[in-house]
């Protein structure tokens, strides 16, 4: 009798949730280490004991070190965590929504849509009635980016998904078309831009968190935190969608609500991330893919773990961008693309058969 109860308590073979939970603990540790490293490394060295003393004991640093730590590195670290988590979780959510491991905000034009929104706001924002412009304040660019990414996600879903099935080819081609269109429109706007605006625009094409300020953190944080906080509610629905829309609704998933929720979540997170950091690619595809390999596709853990690993990955990429050609800095988008591009090709090679391509 007692052996029987023991048998029943043992985790069922094929249930990887305990693995996913262990992974979560490990990822929290990795993120903590990445955060400390991000605070310590830079053109001017502030050592670990010094960092610890300020963070833990609130002990006085020299004025110069204090400024470097609190007003340059700290906002940069927080922004890295926010943007990395936003991009990775958005990738996982989009892949669940499109039922396809290749859906990524950067690859299929959602980031491009957000970028267009941001550019429109920067260049044409001055034409808004003054009262409205002041009311929106710092939030104008992220909001415009949100609308851009929302419109492109909706459009993409309409074009690429029929009867609950997404064609990989259509999705990627639609993404290319969208990116081209956005590129052309941005090009047009560049002609209208003045010098100061131009400099801001160039920054989007590169993708960077180097210009991080607390103001940028506060403009992007609300949208990103809201979006990330909503994702646990999508987990069950996205798991159900893996069976197809019809089967998902038969197991009680409110399919339309999950789809709308996923689209708004992605639009918020990608919009806010792109507004403050530009086009940082591949985080959304690399992170969920690795995690699915390690502990399976259950979204209950995949979404949270994606957030943790995405944040760490972006911090590490940012570190690399700071040290590779020190004292100068590389745009972080170049680092993620250098890591992500080959990784993406590797996914394609491994999964050609499974993806039906």
């Amino acid at each position: 009798m007692s052996t029987m109860t023991l048998d029943m308590a043992a985790p069922l073979e094929g249930d990887r949730s305990h693995k996913a939970r262990l992974l979560m603990v490990a990822l929290i540790g990795i993120l903590a280490v990445s955060c400390v490293a991000s605070l310590m490394v830079g053109a001017s060295g502030v050592s670990l004991p010094e960092v610890m003393r300020t963070v833990l004991a609130g002990e006085a640093l020299s004025m110069r070190d204090k400024v470097i730590l609190m007003d340059i590195r700290m906002p940069r670290m927080v922004l890295g965590v926010l943007v990395g988590a936003a991009l990775a979780v958005s990738g996982a959510v989009m892949q669940g929504l499109f039922r396809n491991p290749l859906a990524d905000p950067g690859l299929v034009g959602v980031s491009a849509g957000a970028g267009l929104g941001a550019i429109v706001a920067i260049v044409l924002g001055g034409m808004l009635p003054a009262a409205l412009a002041t009311a929106l304040g710092y939030y104008m660019v992220p909001l415009a980016a949100f609308m851009g990414s929302w419109a492109s996600t909706m459009l993409l879903y309409r074009v690429a998904t029929r009867k609950g099935r997404t064609s990989v080819a259509t999705m990627l081609l639609a993404g290319i078309a969208l990116a081209a269109l956005v590129g052309a429109l941005s090009g047009l706007l560049v002609y209208k831009a003045d010098d100061a605006q131009l400099r801001t625009l160039t920054f989007w094409q590169m993708g960077s968190i180097a210009g991080a300020t607390w103001a940028k953190v506060w403009t992007s944080a609300p949208l990103i935190v809201l979006a990330l906080a909503a994702t646990p509610f999508l987990a069950r629905g996205l798991n159900g969608l893996a069976l197809g829309e019809a089967a998902a609704s038969h197991i009680g998933v409110p399919v339309q609500r999950v789809k709308n929720g996923a689209i708004v979540m992605v639009a918020c997170a990608v919009g806010a991330a792109v507004a403050v950091s530009g086009g940082i690619g591949f985080v959304g595809i690399v992170v969920p893919h690795l995690l699915r390999l390690l502990s399976g596709p259950d979204h209950k853990y995949l979404l949270i773990n994606s957030g943790l690993l995405g944040a760490s990955l972006l911090l590490v990429a940012d570190l690399i961008s700071r040290v590779v050609i020190a004292p100068a800095e590389l745009p972080i988008g170049i680092v993620t693309a250098t890591i992500g591009g080959p990784f993406f090709l590797w996914i394609l090679l491994r999964q050609r058969g499974l993806l039906g391509m």
């Binding site: 073979e13 990887r16 893996a242 069976l243 609704s249 038969h250 197991i251």
Partner: protein, 261 residues
């Protein structure tokens, strides 16, 4: 009970179902039979509200067109004819998707029990995408079973809707799955299944609806529906029904052997 009245359904301009009336009782195993393309799957999709139809479908007193998704999920499980699964889930993880919130959520032990029931107890750790078609179909059935494990709840029957549950299976597993469906009905639940094999239908089902070209030709007990003339007309070939005196079931010999007579 399940009652469908005057169901019309069109895909684009093409009308597939023409005024079909269909009924199924809880406690019974009801089959929908008919030739390829006659509209069996389409009728099933109307009965579960997966496609837009005109007419009325009432399941246990609820009009399914207006019932909430979660209300329906609590009283019925649906096995589609084919399922394309995204992402590399293991067998156990697929079956677990059937643990429906507000119905069977949290009852993890059902996963192993359902796999045992469909004869896949040793498959829990395998990747779903690496199984054969027949094995995948049984995994999906196990998933549906975890959703509505008890055939009745709060004194009310629950329902299974199965589209060709045994078509991809070998003869042994055909019997296993038919037995599962029959047991579900005997215990007070309702079962509606699209069936290809008329012999299995005769052996296990209590009621049969014969569909041809989108119209209901007849619904009744197997002995009422399975007669030479009607089947020959529906399937466009010579069919003869044999009734071995010793048993209560009918066997329909291979039609080709009859053509030679």
């Amino acid at each position: 009970m399940l009652k469908a009245t005057n169901i019309n359904l069109s895909y684009g301009k093409r009308q597939i179902l023409h005024g079909v009336d269909f009924a199924a009782q809880s406690g019974e195993f009801t089959a929908i039979v008919g030739p390829n393309g006659s509209g069996k799957t389409t009728l099933m999709k109307a009965l579960i509200g997966e496609e837009e139809y005109s007419g009325e479908v009432i399941l246990e007193g609820r009009n399914i067109a207006t019932a909430k998704t979660w209300e329906l999920a609590a009283v019925r499980g649906v096995l589609p004819q084919a399922t394309a699964l995204a992402f590399p889930f293991t067998v156990a993880e697929v079956v677990r998707l059937g643990l429906t919130s507000g119905v069977s959520a949290g009852r993890e032990n059902l996963v192993g029990m359902a796999l045992e029931r469909v004869g896949l107890a040793t498959y829990a750790g395998r990747l779903y995408q690496e199984l054969s078609g027949g094995e995948q179909q049984r995994v999906q059935l196990a998933r549906v079973l975890t959703q509505v494990w008890e055939p009745t709840a709060h004194g009310k029957p629950r329902w299974l809707f199965l589209d060709e549950p045994v078509s991809a299976l070998d003869i042994g597993h055909q019997l296993v799955v038919m037995q599962i469906a029959q047991d579900f009905a005997r215990a007070g639940g309702g079962v509606v299944a699209v069936m290809h094999d008329l012999n299995l239908t005769a052996m296990f089902c209590d009621s049969v609806a014969l569909i041809s070209q989108g119209q209901l030709m007849r619904q009744g007990t197997p002995s009422e529906v399975f007669c030479d003339e009607l089947l020959s007309q529906a399937y466009h070939c010579a069919v003869r029904v044999n009734t071995p005196p010793a048993s209560g079931t009918f066997l329909l010999p291979h039609a080709a052997s009859l053509a030679a007579e």
